[in-house]
Structure formats: structure tokens, C-alpha cells
């Protein structure tokens, strides 16, 4: 736009000069030959200016076309800011009997604003004991493994800003405001766009691609909290600072490979061990359609984390943590129409090992956990869901009897049920009940939650 303005400047000045010249009385008291000379000059100048004016006209025309194209692009950018929907329309072909839709919004700097979306959450929780003070005998937990506090609370609110940075990079910043007014960078990363060859690279802070629900934001989960194994093994979900590469194979079934390397500052890693290169992961996802109504996705993931002085709940662990996850998802929607009825069944199995020193005592133990969940939308906007999860941990050294790592002969499990009503794709009301036997005393919890998203919100992953 600036260039257009600048271009128009010169011919306008020339035009002003031209009109001044025409106004000036030609040759006040000149001789005939002088007059002829002046006439010549005038005609030369006229030609000159005519050319300049013609040039100006051409430039104006070009500027107008440019502006129109820019306006159309800006309109598209404004109305479809998820950056993928509306490409600037190429000019109408000569055979089209009707003109293209006229541009709808004036071009402005505003058109390049990033996509801004906000997610709001609200809870009211009734529980037989405080769910936020979670404890699972046999497991050293991270600091976020607990549930929401009792009573009214707003949970976590999110603001996401994302946009294409240039033709090569996409940027996304996800700020999360905790219930206690703390501000956190949940995700903040850059990612390649359209690199080709099926390759996508990512750098910054982001949720890992391991498992099935790990990469999704909590507001996108089917239940209002993470299943027991995610709480126990990944402190709800694994996100850290690092780099990621994913490659989508050129096959007719979906086949994706990924690898990540992280700082290692998040549970189960700690202390940003190995000079800040403490976690590595690898995963493969495969998926496809069974028929018009059903589809599937499966994955195998591996996470290796190095913990140095991982200090939670007064216990300190130093050592290696390995975790494997097998995931499977099945989705059913009659004729591929999820609006009226649909079913999503998913399950994940976690198998891990921690080898090192726990409070100075050598440990080498395996633990495992799984969950299965199903959510069925039985009429438009209404769904119900069930989830069952359990954990298992190996025996501990007698020296650690009675410590956090002693499961005290218990097999922790939790059963959850929900009923959900969606006001639209952007608003959800959820009633959830869970019976949790992961601690000594059972926890019975009933919660009512709303989750809304406003602003342009991108499409959800499968």
C-alpha cells in the first residue's frame, strides 16, 4: 500500500507543474522567432506531459488493481484467518458471465492481525475430599496431577494467538491463566508450513505428539480431567521446550513418524538433565477408514527422560525414566455424519520403568496403567461417556516400604461418567461424576463444567 502511495506522488507533482506552466502567460514581449521557439518548446513539453500523464494513468490503474487484489486478500484473511480457508481469488476468467464478488472490507494493517481465540472454563465441584491434593500410593506424582479444587472456580483460561509468520513459518502462542491468576506459556512454537515431502518441523514449547490425547489441549479432551495414567506418568500431559520432526509417509493409509528432543524440565524429567537435553521421544501413528462410517487411529510412542533431583512431595528421584504408550482410537459416525449421532472409543496402555535412586536408595521398577473410554452422542448436541482407568506398580525394595513408592498392596483405579450438552461447536456444558480409588480413601467427585471457545478457532485434529 505504501508503495502505491509513493508511486502516485511523482506524477501528481508533474501534473501540478504542468498546470502551472499552462497558466503562465507565454512569452510576454518576444520576437516572432522566439515565439516559434517557445511554441516548439510548448508542444515538446505537452508531448512530454502527455506521456507522463499516460504513464500516470497506467500507474494509477495498476495501483487500483493492486489495491483491489490486496483488499480481496485482506477480506479473505479477515474472514478466514485460520489461514487455510480462503485463498485470494484469481481474477475471473473471461468466460465467467458474472463478475467476482466485490471486495468486502477495506485493506488495513488490521487484516494481518493474528488469529486470536480465547477458551474459558468454569467449574463447580463437589467432592468427598479435596481432589486437588491428589496422591497415588506407589507413584511419585508431578505437581499438576490433582483435580480442580472444590466449589466454584474458573479452572484454566487460555488465549491463543497464531498466524503465518511468512511463507515458510507458522507461529502459535498459547497463554494460560491459572485459577490463581498465574500466567503461563502453555505452548509457544514456530512450525514449518508446506515444507513438502510430508515433513513438518517444530521448535519452541509445545505438547508432545506421544500418545493420543497428549497433544490436545485440555479443553479438547472428552472428559474434564486427564485419565489416571496421564496423571500418574506424565503429570497430566507432557509439554516442554524442544524440537520436533514429523514425517507423513506417502501411503494411502495414514502413517506418520515423529521424533522429539526436549530440554527435560517437565515431569517425568527434571533438572533439565544432560545440560538441558533431558528428554527424547519417538512415535508412530497409523490410521485409516474402515468404511464410510468408521475410522481408526493407532499409535506407538516411546519417551525417555532423564531426571536429576526430581523433587515432588518431599521425595527426590535421580535416574532414567522410560515410558511406552500404545494407543488406539475408533470413531463411528453413520455415513460419516457426526452431527446427529457419533461414537468415539479410545484406549491407551502405558508401560514404564524408572531406574535410579529414590531418596538415595537404588530403585529399578516397572509400572503400568491403562484406560478405556467411550463417548456416544445419541441425539444432536447430547452425549454421554464412560471411562475406566487403572494403574499397577511393581514391588519396592524393603528399604522403601511405607514410602511414596509403596503401593501398599493397592491397585489404583477410577471410574468416570459424563453427560454433555453442546450449545454449539463452540460451547459445552458437562456434568461429570467420578469414583476414584487411587488413594486410600475413595474420592467421589461430581462436577459441572462449562467450556467455551470464541474467536476464530481452527479445526480440531482427529
Amino acid at each position: 500500500m505504501i508503495r502505491v502511495h509513493h508511486r502516485a506522488n511523482v506524477p501528481i507533482w508533474a501534473l501540478a507543474g504542468a498546470s502551472l506552466f499552462w497558466l503562465a502567460p507565454p512569452a510576454l514581449a518576444a520576437a516572432e522567432d522566439d515565439l516559434a521557439g517557445i511554441r516548439n518548446e510548448i508542444s515538446k513539453l505537452r508531448q512530454d506531459y502527455e506521456m507522463k500523464i499516460k504513464d500516470l494513468e497506467e500507474r494509477l490503474q495498476k495501483a487500483e488493481t493492486d489495491a483491489q487484489a490486496a483488499r480481496a486478500a485482506a477480506a479473505a484473511a479477515q474472514t478466514a484467518p485460520s489461514a487455510v480457508a480462503a485463498a485470494p481469488s484469481p481474477p475471473a476468467p473471461p468466460s465467467a458471465p458474472e463478475p467476482l464478488p466485490t471486495p468486502r472490507a477495506p485493506a488495513s494493517q488490521n487484516a494481518f492481525n493474528p488469529v486470536i481465540a480465547a477458551v474459558l472454563n468454569g467449574f463447580i465441584v463437589g467432592a468427598s475430599r479435596d481432589p486437588s491434593a491428589a496422591r497415588i500410593p506407589g507413584f511419585q506424582l508431578g505437581d499438576e496431577a490433582g483435580g480442580p479444587q472444590r466449589g466454584f472456580s474458573i479452572g484454566e483460561s487460555e488465549v491463543a494467538l497464531s498466524a503465518n509468520i511468512d511463507p515458510f513459518l507458522f507461529g502459535s502462542l498459547n497463554l494460560s491463566f491459572g485459577n490463581d491468576n498465574s500466567l503461563g506459556v502453555e505452548e509457544g512454537y514456530i512450525q514449518t508450513i508446506g515444507l513438502g515431502g510430508g515433513l513438518t518441523l517444530k521448535a519452541g514449547r509445545f505438547f508432545s505428539g506421544i500418545g493420543y490425547i497428549n497433544e490436545r489441549h485440555a479443553h479438547d479432551w472428552s472428559f474434564s480431567d486427564a485419565p489416571l495414567p496421564y496423571r500418574a506418568f506424565l503429570n497430566n500431559q507432557y509439554g516442554d521446550d524442544g524440537i520436533q520432526a514429523r514425517w507423513l509417509a506417502p501411503t494411502n493409509i495414514f502413517l506418520e513418524f515423529g521424533a522429539e528432543w526436549y530440554r527435560g524440565a517437565s515431569f517425568p524429567a527434571a533438572g533439565a538433565a544432560n545440560r538441558g537435553k533431558g528428554t527424547a521421544t519417538a512415535f508412530v501413528h497409523a490410521g485409516g477408514d474402515i468404511n464410510q462410517s468408521s475410522s481408526w487411529l493407532a499409535g506407538l510412542s516411546y519417551l525417555h527422560a532423564r531426571a536429576e533431583n526430581r523433587d515432588f512431595g518431599g521425595d527426590i528421584f535421580t535416574g532414567d525414566s522410560n515410558l511406552g504408550i500404545a494407543s488406539a482410537v475408533y470413531k463411528w459416525a453413520p455415513n460419516g455424519n457426526p452431527v446427529v449421532r457419533n461414537l468415539v472409543v479410545s484406549g491407551e496402555y502405558f508401560f514404564g520403568n524408572e531406574d535410579g535412586a529414590f531418596n538415595g536408595i537404588p530403585v529399578d521398577r516397572t509400572h503400568s496403567g491403562w484406560y478405556v473410554q467411550g463417548v456416544y452422542q445419541f441425539v444432536p448436541r447430547w452425549s454421554f461417556g464412560l471411562r475406566y482407568a487403572r494403574l499397577r506398580t511393581g514391588d519396592v525394595d524393603p528399604l522403601l516400604a511405607g514410602s511414596t513408592l509403596d503401593d501398599l498392596g493397592r491397585i489404583p483405579y477410577a471410574a468416570t461418567a459424563l453427560l454433555e450438552f453442546d450449545t454449539s461447536e463452540f460451547g459445552r456444558l458437562r456434568l461429570q461424576y467420578s469414583h476414584d480409588e487411587s488413594d486410600f480413601k475413595p474420592l467421589d467427585e461430581i462436577l459441572f463444567q462449562y467450556t467455551v471457545i470464541y474467536g476464530p478457532h481452527g479445526a480440531h485434529r482427529y
Binding site: 479473505a76 474472514t79 478466514a80 485460520s82 489461514a83 487455510v84 480457508a85 480462503a86 485463498a87 485470494p88 481469488s89 484469481p90 476468467p93 468466460s95 465467467a96 458471465p97 458474472e98 463478475p99 467476482l100 464478488p101 468486502r104 514449518t192 508450513i193 508446506g194 515444507l195 513438502g196 515431502g197 510430508g198 513438518t200 507423513l248 509417509a249 506417502p250 501411503t251 494411502n252 493409509i253 495414514f254 502413517l255 501413528h285 497409523a286 490410521g287 485409516g288 477408514d289 464410510q292 475410522s295 470413531k331 459416525a333 455415513n335 460419516g336 455424519n337 457426526p338 452431527v339 444432536p380 448436541r381 454449539s424 461447536e425 481452527g458 479445526a459 480440531h460 485434529r461 482427529y462
Partner: protein, 301 residues
Amino acid sequence: MRTMMITAVLLTLGVASPAYANLNVFACEPEWGALATEIGGDKVSVFTATQGGQDPHQVQARPGLIARARNADISVCTGAELEIAWLPAIVQQTANPKIRPGAPGAFEASSYVTLLEVPARLDRAEGDIHALGNPHVQTDPNNILRIAKPLADRFSQLDPANASTYAARLADFSTRWQAALAKWQAQAAPLKGVSIAVSHLSWRYMEDWLGLKRIVALEPKPGVPPSAGYLAQVVDTLQKTPAKFVIRAAYEDQRPSLFIADKMQMKAVTMPFTIGGTPEAKDLFSLYDDTINRLLAAAKG
């Protein structure tokens, strides 16, 4: 060793290769898949992402679709935000630069049609509105012709070696289509001025084409399912201004239109909306044959 294993795995899985075809087409809706085949013939290999009975607004970004879009040379979609709930997620995950927005391989059919019903107010309180206007352009077959030429041009741009084939096939298609248009126009003459009710505002372009008069929509706002209270209002409207019949697309919930049809003693017509929506709508031509037949049958009674 690792490379060998990966190669072996890829071979087992059947790596997608455009063995004979020159262009891999990812068509979002069946009508564009069919049009791509009409123009491209055996020079293109077409994958159609949605089926006849499927709501193109609400498609899950399934892994199978991502895998197909990964290898596409061109996507042929309606655009105008019809596919906003799923296509962006797919394109992003494929990392395929050919079909990114703005790339020559991202073809949006609605760009070549003047869109109607552009909302005056952009507010989600107005329901599931499309900022660029009503995207359901395929309900008027005149639009198919408007889109066919730029699609052929785009094929030629991406695959210049076969440009003459695309041009020839376009010319042939245009001739056949013009003849069909004239036939449909004649057949549909009795429909002019007939009053109808619609379940969703999907039919604006067809209403204009056939001169149908829309009295009411069964949705209070686009994409918002009707409540009992709203349906009572619809009944009230239809008592004052009667409609001959109520139409819905094959993919839509039939209950509201059956309820109204029963209440008002009028017919409920299931429309193909796209190829495969009804058993009779087998290709582009029979789609409009069936559309007109169903409307004529309903208008008669």
C-alpha cells in the same frame, strides 16, 4: 538395515503412486470430484473426500483423508469456508505445499461464482454463518459451467503437457452441459413460483435457478437445530403463507421436516444435494435430473 526395513514396510503398505494419471486430485465434495473427472478424464486420478449422504460442513479430519491429501497435486473444493471445520487441519498436517491456500493447486470453486446471502453481521450469535456468503453453489447447474472453465485452466496450468486434452474435454463437456441446461429449464417450467420450505439455507442458488419461492427455513439460525418453540413459529408462518412442500438434503436430520410435513399436511422431499445423495443421483447429469424429478413429483401432488 533400517532403510531396508522402512522400504519394505512402505512397499507392503502400497505407496501411493500416480501410476498412470498425471494429476492427483483431492476433491472435497462429490460434485467437484465428478467435474474433475469430466475435465481430466484419464489424465487425472480423483479421490473424493466426502460421500453423497455426508454433511460437507461437518467432516472429521480423519487420518485417511490426511494420507490422501498428502499426495494431492490439486485440491478441488467449494471454498467460501464450507470446509473450514476440517480442511485446514488436513492441509496443515500434510505439509503439502501444492494445496496450501494461495497455491495454484488450491482450487476453490465458489471463487468463480457471485456468492449470495453474504451476512451483513458477522457474529456467532447469528449461528453457523459463512462470512463470504452462501457456499452451496452446486445447487444451480449454471454454476457448474462457470466453474468448469477455470478448473480446466487450472489443470492446464499444473499439467501443461495435457492442456489440449483438458481444453477438448472442457469443450465437449460444455456442449453436453448446455444441452442439459436447456432440457432442465424446459422440464422445470412448472416449478416457477412454487412456494417451498427448506430445512437449512442450502438452496438459494437452486431457488433462483428454478424460480422457487422460499417461505421459511426450519432452522432458527444456520446450523442451529430447531426447538419445539421455533417449529411452532414455522407452523404459524406456513399457515399464513402456505408452501407446497418442504425439502431437505439427504444428509440432514429428517425429523424436523417430517414433523412440519405432518403438521401442515404437505410433502417432505429428500433432495440429493450432491452426487450419491439419492440412489438416482449417480453423476453430475443425473444429479440435476433427479433434483428436478423429485421437485416436479412433489409439486404435482
